[in-house]
């Protein structure tokens, strides 16, 4: 393509990326004009971060074999190999995590490495490195940048004293102070803001776009995306599903696009117009949490009853959660990462400080003690496979039988409480059984767990749980970081185990489709609370709406 004045600001052509044979992005093509605001939405792991990494020339891309396709800036092909190149080309980025220096003032942070300098003899003789700062000029520049955003923050305030919302504004101010910034990427900028602050930010962004700065806005809050953006791109499983003007989509349709893997027919239909689906009155109740299990409803005591559970798990705080799981049911817990879905099973198992009431088959469970939970015939597969789930430096038979040995006194010989030695023969025998039945690829029971691939490690974790012969099995992220073949096998194993042993299984996963394919019911967690429990057979978009924090809006649309 030859450079011409009508060329878009940034154009992507067939961008694709593979990590170690795992395809994370394929055939992404779109373009951005100057002053345009583009909304980019997608689930966790849809490929948004990878896309940003490619655009900014992050070293991780080059070190894993580069990317496919071409990038054009002003119609000229570009290939950034370091973030600095991208920055000097006029791309700006506001990160999800703050990259600010806490002890510095707003001014210092905004102008970091672009300080206004006083000329002096010293700097003439040596270099700019020894010149002093022109504090007044810096202050004015910082103030100007902050004012563009329409907020009032003193430029002399240190970042550590600011509320989170302010920090977000400072991050953005830093990017717009850079004179050549023409394209700004914002990764979930409103996640930490209050509603009011978010509104101010949206207004500020609109102002920026009028000045000709193009903006790519990444957010899970669909209503904001719809309000702010002129065009919406939906990314799912590494492909660009939709690229349409914002006006043509309702948030509901957006949600279904984000999570839906319904059928290709439906996806095509979206591009034109989705016929509004008929909504029945009873759905409202279900959405709001009082689900009735139509067919499987039993009068018996529930296998697990959780009342007002809170869990203090860093990054996954659970505030107030209540639900019931019937015996023999497969219950799913879904939701976006960071909203507390992982906190629920971790809290029940006693791995993180928790409070509230948990009853197992009608009897109260002592919280905060892993041993108590284990001795009540619960088993747990952690989401943190390498950190909590496995003894990486120990052989497989240790990994698989250790928990049963310690809590149930199996795989030992000798006199209980006085002298018991581990029975290595029994350990190896049991391990061989699982290596066969779960087809774990390894050299034998004495291979170290750390040497296996992710999928096989996950199978070892499952075997460890199965050895305990649990009544209730809690599994977190069963398919995280494993390839597609292993995914199917793991899920099938779980289903089979549930069918054969009548074990109650609670699966926590970020992948909604996975939950819907395995579970009987799925609860969606948002901001530490369950916003709804739906039978897995409900359409994906309903789950999507719940996940995107659209609880109230859903209710409204239903009643209309």
């Amino acid at each position: 393509m030859s450079a011409n004045n009508n060329a878009p600001l940034l154009q992507l052509e067939h961008i694709g990326k593979e990590y170690y044979g795992n395809r994370v992005l394929s055939d992404i093509s779109f373009s951005i004009e100057a002053g345009e605001i583009l909304g980019l939405v997608g689930e966790n792991g849809a490929g948004k971060s990878t896309l940003l990494n490619i655009l900014f020339g992050m070293p991780v891309i080059a070190s894993t074999g580069g990317y496919e396709g071409n990038l054009y800036l002003d119609g000229k092909p570009v290939h950034f190999t370091s973030p600095n190149q991208a920055l000097s080309a006029g791309l700006g980025m506001v990160h999800q995590e703050f990259s600010l220096i806490p002890g510095f003032t707003a001014t210092e942070n905004i102008l970091l490495n672009r300080e206004v300098l006083n000329g002096s003899l010293m700097s003439y003789v040596f270099s700019d490195r020894v010149s002093t700062l022109d504090r007044d000029a810096m202050r004015h520049r910082a103030e100007a940048a902050i004012n563009t955003l329409g907020v009032h923050i003193s430029p002399d305030m240190t970042v550590s004293e600011m509320p989170v919302g302010y920090k977000q504004f400072i991050e953005i101010a830093r990017e717009i102070d850079r004179k050549n910034t023409r394209l700004l990427f914002l990764d979930e900028p409103t996640a930490v803001l209050t509603e009011q602050e978010a509104e101010i930010l949206l207004i500020a962004l609109k102002k920026l776009s009028k000045q000709g700065i193009a903006i790519v806005f990444i957010s899970h809050r669909l209503s904001e995306v719809k309000e702010l953006c002129s065009r919406i791109l939906v990314l799912r499983d590494g492909t660009l599903v939709t690229d349409v003007p914002a006006k043509t989509l309702t948030t509901r349709e957006m949600a279904s696009l984000v999570v839906g893997r319904e059928s290709s027919k439906k996806e095509e239909a979206v591009e034109v117009e989705i016929p509004e689906q008929p909504v029945e009155e009873e759905n409202i109740n279900e959405t709001l949490g009082t689900t009735t299990l139509s067919k499987k409803k039993k009068k018996k005591k529930p296998a697990l009853k959780v009342e007002h559970l809170w869990v203090d798990m860093p990054g996954e705080t659970v505030r107030d959660v209540s639900f019931e799981v019937q015996k023999g049911e497969i219950f799913g817990i879904g939701g976006l990462s960071g909203h507390g879905k992982l906190g629920i099973p971790n809290g029940i198992m006693g791995l993180y400080p928790a409070g509230g009431k948990v009853k197992l088959f009608g009897k109260k469970l002592t919280l905060n003690k892993p041993r108590a939970a284990l001795s009540r015939k619960m088993a747990f597969v952690s989401e943190d496979r390498r950190g909590v789930g496995l003894l990486l430096d120990e052989p497989l038979d240790w990994n698989i039988t250790f928990t049963a040995m310690q809590t149930q006194g199996r795989f030992l010989f000798g006199i209980p409480y006085i002298f018991q030695m581990r029975n290595e023969l029994a350990m190896a025998k049991e391990t061989k059984k699982f290596i066969e039945s779960l087809s774990i690829k390894c050299t034998g029971p004495s291979q170290k767990a750390g040497e296996l691939s992710g999928g096989n490690q996950q199978k070892v974790c499952l075997a460890k749980a199965f050895v305990l012969r649990p009544d209730i099995l809690l599994i977190c992220e069963p398919t995280r970081g494993i390839d597609i073949g292993a995914k199917a096998l793991v899920l099938d194993t779980l289903k089979e185990y549930n069918r054969e042993n009548g074990t109650t299984i609670i699966i926590t996963s970020s992948e909604l489709e996975e939950l819907r394919s395995v579970c009987d019911r799925v609860a969606i967690v948002d901001d530490g609370e369950i916003v709804g429990i739906l039978p897995a057979s409900r359409p994906a978009e309903e789950f999507g709406m719940l996940m995107m924090g659209e609880k109230m809006r859903v209710a409204l649309e239903y009643t209309e």
Partner: protein
């Protein structure tokens, strides 16, 4: 084959092993008696073995290397001094018990005949509970500083030694062979165990050879005395540790060291396991020093235990242990190599260069190995 061996043994051990071999080969040419040197190596191995063994429980439980070994040594010193102090009283009490409970073999004659082994056993038996209590406290402390155990352990060792410097003076010991002659109180810096349990293990079942052989026109004295008893004692202690690491508790301990989060999620009380491991290490340290003393001939108080941890740490690292994995084999190989180097370098180098640079070599080897091993601290 060879590649496999190198991989399993590790380069450091091969290099040190070859170096040691080279020393043994050159020794006769510079006029050093190889047999005596070899005998010394074996004796030193037996003396230090149990103290190196004391590293295993703590390493396996993830508490790092036991730089606080002086604490265990202090318990051992208390046991040793108390056993001498109370020697006659204990024997009298035992004889009394024999009469009261009509235990036919427990007579005064029997006790006098076995006075030395009884003294040695009582030293160990007194030391164990003291070590257990100190180890328990030490374990509690280490549980509060997870991640910095080795730094804290070092200072636990140092400060306990300093504290005991005061205590040795003030404790009401009375025994004339142990207290300062001029004041009549306060323990001496070195106390001979002669007449109590000197060489009690060394001489038990010891193998002695005495001969003269001619090598290259020179007549060489062969004077070997293998301390079988001490080696057996070490083997028994090693076996006990080996068995323990295979029990339910030992397995839990290893898991705690391998991945504490995994252990916790499996219902194991991580802190309790760590405390048990520290207690075991301290007790082994106490027994270790008593074994050392019976061979060395003296109880060294005051600053004696100050630098005792470093050779033990260096030995086990030299044997191929890492900061969180150690086996009995590591102990055996490491202690032999370390003590071998320590015995051979002074004699050979002194003969070659006619100067005393043995201490320099010793420091380079021991500290170099500690440095090497600590940089290998990798956690997956």
């Amino acid at each position: 084959m060879i590649k496999n061996f190198i991989k399993n043994a590790g380069w450091p051990r091969i290099i040190i092993g070859l170096f040691l071999l080279a020393l043994f080969i050159t020794a006769p040419f510079v006029g050093v008696n190889v047999f005596t040197s070899f005998n010394n190596t074996i004796v030193r191995f037996g003396m230090n073995g149990v103290m190196v063994l004391a590293m295993i429980p703590m390493v396996q439980a993830g508490c790092g290397l036991n730089f606080g070994l002086p604490l265990g040594i202090i318990a051992g010193l208390l046991g040793a001094t108390l056993s001498i102090e109370l020697n006659t009283e204990i024997l009298a009490k035992l004889a009394e018990l024999g009469i009261r409970y009509k235990i036919s073999w427990l007579t005064r004659e029997f006790l006098t005949a076995y006075r030395e082994p009884a003294g040695f056993a009582s030293a160990i038996l007194i030391a164990i509970p003291i070590a257990a209590v100190l180890g328990w406290l030490y374990g509690k402390l280490l549980n509060r500083v997870k991640g910095d155990e080795m730094m804290i352990a070092t200072y636990v060792g140092f400060s306990s030694v300093s504290f005991m410097c005061i205590a040795w003076l003030l404790l009401p010991y009375k025994h004339p062979t142990m207290v300062w002659g001029y004041a009549g109180r306060g323990l001496r810096t070195t106390i001979s165990v002669e007449g109590y349990w000197l060489h009690i293990l060394n001489d038990w079942l010891s193998l002695n050879f005495q001969d003269k052989i001619e090598i290259g026109g020179k007549i060489l004295d062969v004077n070997l005395s293998i301390p079988t008893g001490m080696l057996i004692f070490f083997a028994v202690m090693a076996f006990i540790v080996w068995i323990f690491m295979r029990t339910k508790t030992g397995t839990a301990m290893t898991a705690v060291g391998s991945n504490p989060e995994f252990a916790r999620a499996s219902g194991v009380n991580v802190d309790k396991m760590r405390t048990i491991s520290v207690m075991m290490s301290t007790i082994l340290g106490a027994i270790g020093i008593i074994v050392y003393e019976q061979s060395f001939g003296f109880i060294q108080l005051y600053m004696g235990p100050f630098y005792m941890a470093l050779p033990a740490v260096a030995s086990i690292l030299l044997g191929g242990a890492s900061v969180n994995k150690a086996t009995i084999l590591n102990v055996v190989v490491g202690t032999f190599l370390f003590q071998g180097i320590l015995t051979m370098t002074p004699t050979v180098f002194n003969s070659v260069f006619q100067t005393d640079m043995s201490e320099v070599i010793r420091l380079i080897v021991s500290n170099g190995m500690i440095l090497y091993a600590l940089t290998r601290k990798v956690r997956a």
